[in-house]
Amino acid sequence: MKTAVIALNTFREAIRDKLLLVLVIFGFLLMASSKIIKPLAVGEEAKIIKDLGLASIALIMTLIAILVGGRLVYKEIDKRTIYIILSKPIYRFQLLLGKYLGLMFVIFLSIVIMTGGYYVVLYFTQTQANLHLLLSVLLTYFQVSIITGLAIFFSTFVTPIASSIFTFFIYFIGHLTRDLKALAAISKSPIVKIVAEFFYYLLPNLSNFNIKGPLVHDVLINYSIIYWAILYSLLYTGALLFLASLIFRQKEF
């Protein structure tokens, strides 16, 4: 219940944030620009419109998670409202979880609005609107869940700017972890092998959530990928929030 109250409050706060509005409008403009690109595409209009829509949703949601998520906890500390909240009978973990759930609800709403806009663009450009594309949006949501977890984790011990930078780096590296695996495979040094393997499993493997390519090309995918990716996201985010609460508990207010 206490978590729900904090989540609701975070949701209200984030909705009022102009940054969110700007990002969503920017996302819509990006998707709508496919109408301009259409005549230049020479037979690949449908592909470009689908790609642009999915990329816009992923980009905007990631930016919301990084930029809004990084400020969530810091804002409470900066405005001293943290003292009021923590003076109530509430666990610090509940505060973090509430913040996380509130932001995830904002992201959910933004994703629903943007996906609606995406299908409107598909409809008006007479592009075959395949419902399979929603699976990519679903996995984008669970990818963003990890990114939000990371942003909250960092925001418990660094400033919002630093938190956003760190989260962005992990997001970037998270899409390249397969290269770590490749490095481990080709390296002759056992230390490099161990270190590369260790980071391969430690860092979030965000390429697990990227199924945009096969879906746009109507390539059949193994549906178990989706279940495993969702489970991975839940476990990883849970671990991040747990670690964040451990750090947050050490803080003295």
């Binding site: 592909k47 999915l54 965000l206 390539v219």
Partner: protein, 300 residues
């Protein structure tokens, strides 16, 4: 009117005038910069392509947005191709662009298809085109278009009918392939003088359909194949005869009498095989054979 309102009102037009003045200055300045830096579009495009990083490098840097980056490269490729097609017809960076494009999006079938066709026909880079298609085949094992294109390039540009037949045959076995692909395979094998394979393919086509028209067409092509095989065998026997005797026989029966062939095969179109100089020919009108060879059967 109070004085502060008057002051405010006089400030508004001054502010607007300053903004307009600033915009005009910036506009003029940018025009001047553009004029001094003006270079031909071709030069700009070539320069841009030179610094375009390889797809292998670009792929990890664009993280999860590889498809949308591939689309941007596709738009650039179309512009590059269109510009050079209308001007100097030089396509030196075309292979590089499609290499990047297909490294970013390995499933972009039209990029392989369009890239290979333009590379082969416009840039005259036949081997580069085939390499691009084979790369695409490795990443898209079930797509019929790419092996078909390899076959087509081998057939039309390299006159390598045997390889063409091989790739047409592969394309024909893949899901949703163009229904005439098997016919192309049979036809190419026939041209490559691999008569047995070609015959088997035509028979397969015959057995796989209930369409009377297609069956009729298949039988015609089997007859044409028989004609080609007979002409080929008889020509070999004639050449053999000449090598042994330093003279050509007057009639075809001499080839039988001297043991170069067992018997004279029956000409499948109702004509006869005859020797004309150093060549074996048929008495069937070339028009009949020509009509069959260039009939729409291969494309309909």
């Amino acid at each position: 009117m109070p004085l502060y309102v008057k002051k405010k009102l006089t400030r508004v037009p001054i502010t607007i005038a300053i903004i307009i003045g600033w915009l005009l200055t910036i506009w003029t300045l940018q025009k001047t910069i553009d004029k001094t830096r003006r270079r031909p579009l071709r030069e700009l495009l070539v320069e841009e392509m030179m610094y375009f990083p390889s797809g292998n490098f670009l792929h990890p840097t664009v993280i999860e947005f590889e498809n949308i980056f591939a689309d941007l490269v596709w738009l650039r490729a179309i512009q590059y191709y269109g510009h050079h097609l209308m001007t100097d017809k030089k396509f030196e960076w075309l292979g590089h662009i499609f290499e990047i494009l297909t490294n970013l999006d390995q499933r972009f079938i039209n990029a392989y298809h369009f890239g290979a066709i333009t590379l082969a026909w416009d840039a005259r880079e036949v081997e580069e085109a085939i390499r691009l298609l084979r790369k695409g085949m490795a990443d898209n094992l079930l797509d019929w278009q790419l092996p078909f294109d390899v076959g087509f390039i081998n057939f039309v540009l390299k006159d390598d009918y045997s390889t063409a037949g091989y790739y047409f045959k592969i394309a024909g076995k893949l899901p949703n392939s163009w229904f005439i692909t098997q016919r192309w395979a049979a036809y190419a094998y026939g041209k490559a003088k691999k008569f047995e394979t070609a015959r088997q393919l035509w028979i397969d086509i015959y057995n796989s359909t209930d369409n009377k028209k297609l069956q009729e067409l298949t039988l015609k092509n089997l007859r044409k194949l028989q004609l080609d095989e007979d002409l080929n065998n008889l020509q070999m026997a004639l050449d053999h005869f000449f090598r042994d005797n330093r003279i050509y026989p007057k009639t075809i029966i001499e080839l039988v009498n001297r043991g170069y062939i067992k018997n004279i095969p029956k000409e499948p179109f109702g004509g006869r095989y005859v020797i004309r100089g150093d060549k074996i020919q048929t008495t069937t009108s070339p028009k009949v054979i020509f009509q069959l060879e260039f009939s729409p059967s291969l494309i309909q």
